[in-house]
Amino acid sequence: MARMKFLCDADRCIECNACVTACKNENEVPWGINRRRVVTINDGKPGERSVSMACMHCTDAPCAAVCPVNCFYTTADGVVLHSKDLCIGCGYCFYACPFGAPQYPRVGNFGSRGKMDKCTYCTGGPEADNSLMEYEKYGANRLAQGKLPLCAEMCSTKSLLAGDSEIIAQIYKDRVAKRGYGSGAWGWQTAYRETVAT
């Protein structure tokens, strides 16, 4: 099985937010929830870079570790998913997540924030693959259809890469070698305790 990861080549990101739009549309993400967002560092200054960030599907995921009801699980492809049937909306995963991935439908109504929602790597949830129930709760399950997450698939500059860890790391390495620079595989050291040596 592959180890699926995202890699955002910030030197290519043009901050077009197409990944954000694609994600919202493909998964019918409710208003107010952003599974993916683009953040610009040093905006307007020389050397600014934009990074598209969502759940990084960490190895030894912190969200799963702190969840008081153990609603998280990791698929054979290394994708971190959760069950909305088990989630109690306590918000702990958000405190533990290094990437701000968990989202809640409500901001705070006496602590009941509703079921957590986050990037599923377009892999749905525990329900039967591509069932209506799965789609309504978690969005699309493109992986089961043999497709990669839509955000990366439709990235116009191919800045956002999705796929098997070794393959996308190699693509990034080759790019850095060819063009002579790279701002790093954003989030990899934090998520996987290893980065792409360039």
Binding site: T40, I41, D43, Y95, A96, F99, Q189
Partner: protein, 338 residues
């Protein structure tokens, strides 16, 4: 003719424009030797500087502008390792101490036996406040411990689905019962503050170990140093869990993710220590001491209990005046309980 010359003019203009357009970019192009990322931000560098990476986004959720905050791992370490140890040592340690103490010391008896005369110790309002706070506390404690220990202890027994339903109910109970609990703590503070200011008698009481070990009965006013300690634990601990709890309950109302983590740490640590302290309180108020429970149960205590444990309590003098000291002095030990 005029039309033709106009057309030629247009054509010349178009050709000129095209030539210009082709030439200008060449002139404006950067020299190839410039490294476009010479000043570019690098992930590694940013993380080393601040241990978090923040930028600017285009959605209203300001929290989402932080793209990396690895200190979540330290909070995870606290929540999954340290809090388990602190909680387990505090709660189980207290239980162990109480069991050992009960087995060696046993119940603290009313040495002189019961006098049969009851003195009002807590009026109906005081008892109502106590039991309201106490009931809330027990539910808050159980539902709170469930958040930390439930997945290791209860989840394997009842399964994920039942455990989630129970935890969701427990979470709602935890959220809503915090209000009467906080109210109770406030009332306790105002109600019993006067009797709980530490004074010189407390030092003597503490020096003699409260008479808990052995058969000593150091003097005390309405509340002895141990009870005063419980009072301040409830007031200060209660305020700490209430404030940190409301910060958690209203997430990101003027707080950052680091504040939320800190609030959870304070809430967790204070709460488990609070639970341990209350176990001691429950012990001494029930099986630990004869005649203690009725103070909060029916509101009255036996005259001899009061004389032994609270010899300086002004109510004793009132009672002496009402019944006459001589009568009482002769009576106590001879009269059986009730």
């Amino acid at each position: 003719m005029a039309i033709l010359s106009a057309r030629i003019q247009l054509l010349v203009a178009a050709i000129l424009f095209l030539v210009c357009a082709a030439v200008t970019p060449l002139a404006a192009q950067q020299p190839t030797s410039v490294n476009p990322t010479a000043e570019a931000v690098k992930e590694q560098q940013l993380l080393q500087q601040l241990n978090r990476i923040q930028g600017l986004g285009s959605i209203p959720d300001v929290k989402s502008y932080v793209i990396e905050q690895p200190q979540g791992r330290e909070w995870r370490q606290f929540h999954e390792v340290w809090l388990h140890w602190i909680g387990a040592i505090a709660v189980l340690g207290m239980l162990a101490v109480l069991i050992v103490f009960y087995l060696t010391r046993g119940m603290v008896r009313i040495e002189a036996g019961r006098s049969g005369i009851n003195i009002v110790r807590f009026n109906a309002f005081e008892r109502f406040v106590h039991w309201m706070t106490a009931t809330c506390f027990v539910i808050l404690a159980l539902s709170g411990l469930n958040i930390t220990f439930g997945k290791d202890m209860l989840l394997p027994l009842i399964g994920p689905s039942a455990f989630s339903s129970w935890s969701l109910t427990a979470k709602y109970a935890h959220d809503y019962l915090s209000f009467p609990f906080a109210l109770g703590v406030m009332l306790i503070f105002f109600m019993w503050l006067a009797g709980n200011i530490p004074n010189r008698v407390d030092i003597e009481w503490l020096k003699r170990g409260g008479g808990i070990v052995g058969k000593d009965h150091p003097p005390a006013y309405r509340f002895n140093a141990g009870q005063k300690a419980i009072f301040w634990i409830v007031v200060i601990g209660g305020a700490a869990v209430a404030v940190s709890g409301y910060v958690l309950m209203f997430p990101f109302y003027g707080t950052t993710i680091a504040d939320m983590q800190l609030a959870q740490i304070v809430h967790g640590v204070v709460a488990v220590l609070f639970v341990a302290a209350m176990l001691g309180h429950i012990y001494i108020g029930t099986i630990g001491m004869e005649g203690a429970f009725e103070a909060m149960g029916q509101g009255t205590v036996d005259f001899n209990w009061a004389k032994e444990h609270h010899s300086l309590w002004p109510k004793l003098k009132e009672q002496n005046l009402r019944t006459g000291p001589g009568e009482l002095r002769g009576k106590p030990s001879a009269t059986p309980a009730e």
